[in-house]
Amino acid sequence: MKRSEFLRGFLTAGAIVVGVSLTHASEKLNIVTTLPDLKSIADEVGGNRVEVFAIATGFQNPHFVDPKPSYILKLSKADIFVTVGLDLESGWVPSLLNSARNPRIIKGGEGYVDASTDVPLLQVPSSVSRAEGDIHIYGNPHYWLDPENGKIIAQNIYQALVRMDREGEVYYSENLRRFKDKLDTKIQEWTAMIRPLRGTKIIAYHNEWPYFEQRFGLQIVDFLEPKPGIPPTASQLARVIREMLRDNIKVIITSPYFTTDSAELVARNVGGKVVTLATSVGAEEHVRTYINLFDYNVAKIVEALK
């Protein structure tokens, strides 16, 4: 009796040890990101040691995501969770994390990555009242649209990878370096393409391009939305039309998840055009990686402004 119990205990312990070491050897780190852009960067840094899943798609407005069961399941098994942070996903991330009950990836947990850490933020409101009509109290959250910030995001993800998987440190740091180098080369290429257009005035539908604008020297003078998140009003459209005629502005940039009716209306009135840029990886078929995202947007804007 005693012996069989001992034997059983021994076998169980052995099985656990074997099981643990097996899963350790074969299983990759599970990473869940909110946006596909973060997934692309996590793929670059994590390489073949990670399995990355992005919750939102590239053609979806990241402010609104309807939870599906699979999101919660993936989050409950995740080792690392990467979020854009600020208040971009505040409508759906806290409740998803709450339902996933995974202590590793809750705010402050080892596997929680706020990708905005160390990013120099734009449009941080100076007054607490928010009366100027800014929904983003921490600053504009669309910071991944500046490729320089892609390097900071990569750095943040790298740190979490090393925290969770020490053995991979050398591999990850090599990947990180390669990704940063690649981005640096590309940034030079993109800025060279856009240089002749520096200072060109354009109009945007929603206030999500300040980082892109700053990096590439464009000048967004107004928005079709009178306030972020509020559909264009008649007086706002009239104002934009006046501005476009006065300053000879020809291009309105918008995103895949907004209707282009009002932008088209304004463009018809001033003889300009509407350019739908990709706000995220996956917004268009060819935009498969973070680097593609800027290849696509830079080419598109250069062509439109030519």
């Binding site: 609104f64 069961p69 919660i72 339902s99 928010r130 009509g133 929904i135």
Partner: protein, 273 residues
């Protein structure tokens, strides 16, 4: 499938919402006021918009608005046979929707706050929300269980257009609207507008197709709502769909089944006679 906490809490919540709303729905359908749900939902949305403009806590203000709205709606009595209460409720819905849009357009933070406060998913219900629902739904359920005669008498009188003998302010009528207002505000915040509307309307209507007596009607409505919730949650988990729309789709399916059963029964009784 049932080993995950979030699936279990979704099931629990769908049972709570289903039982209470399908019961209240029997009254709502009987009185012919199915849009009361959308109107009250819109009134609480107006509350959120208002809270935004005056920079106050949206939760409390939206509940306050819903209670106030329920109070006002309980005064609607239509003696004129050419009119139905529904028409007045429709006007309330349209005007409060417009007022919400007007308020939002001048509010500083736009639409996103509103949707954050008002629309949830059954999968992301918090334990606080669950606790609040147990207390409020339990209280409403108890009230209606104890005074079921009063509530049904009132509904039948309104069904038969005998509103003359219902006073200008009728306590039971107010309590009925208060129950609906509270139930809907809480339910919408965890379930979303369309699922809540469906829970209120589909089970009673399907039950009316199948049953006659009041008691069997209520029980059948509750059964259909439980079935719709259970199947909807399973469907959503199995095929990875948003849960609210899955439940609505399955309730719709059950309604179709009820229609078919009713047609078969009618055919049979006709051939028999």
């Amino acid at each position: 499938m049932f080993s995950h906490d979030f699936v279990i809490s979704a099931l629990k919540v769908s049972i709570m919402i289903g039982l209470l709303l399908s019961y209240l729905g029997v009254h709502v359908v009987g009185r012919g006021i199915v849009f009361v749900d959308l109107a009250l939902g819109q009134i609480s949305m107006l509350g959120v918009a208002f809270a935004n403009t005056v920079d106050q806590d949206p939760t409390i203000i939206s509940i306050g608005f819903a209670i106030g709205g329920a109070f006002l709606l309980s005064f609607i009595k239509v003696a004129d046979k050419r009119l139905k209460q529904e028409a007045i409720i429709g006007i309330v819905y349209a005007v409060t929707s417009a007022a919400t849009v007007l308020l939002i357009s001048k509010a500083p933070h736009g639409e996103s706050d509103i949707s954050e406060v008002l629309f949830g998913s059954l999968f992301t219900v918090t334990s606080e929300q669950m606790g609040a629902m147990v207390i409020v739904f339990g209280a409403i359920g108890l009230l209606h269980l104890v005074f079921r005669k009063k509530f049904f008498e009132l509904t039948e009188r309104i069904e038969n257009h005998q509103v003359e003998d219902v006073g200008v302010f009728d306590l039971w009528n107010f309590l009925f609207y208060l129950s609906i207002g509270l139930a809907i505000v809480l339910a919408v915040r965890v379930g979303g507008v369309i699922p809540v509307f469906s829970y209120l309307v589909v089970p009673p209507v399907s039950a009316i197709l199948l049953m006659h007596g009041r008691r069997s009607l209520v029980l059948m409505a509750m059964l259909i709502s439980l079935l719709g919730g259970l199947l909807g949650v399973c469907f959503s988990v199995q095929f990875d769909f948003p849960v609210g729309s899955s439940i609505v789709a399955l309730l719709g399916f059950l309604f179709l089944v009820a229609v078919l059963v009713r047609l078969l029964v009618m055919k049979k009784s006709r051939t028999r006679s």
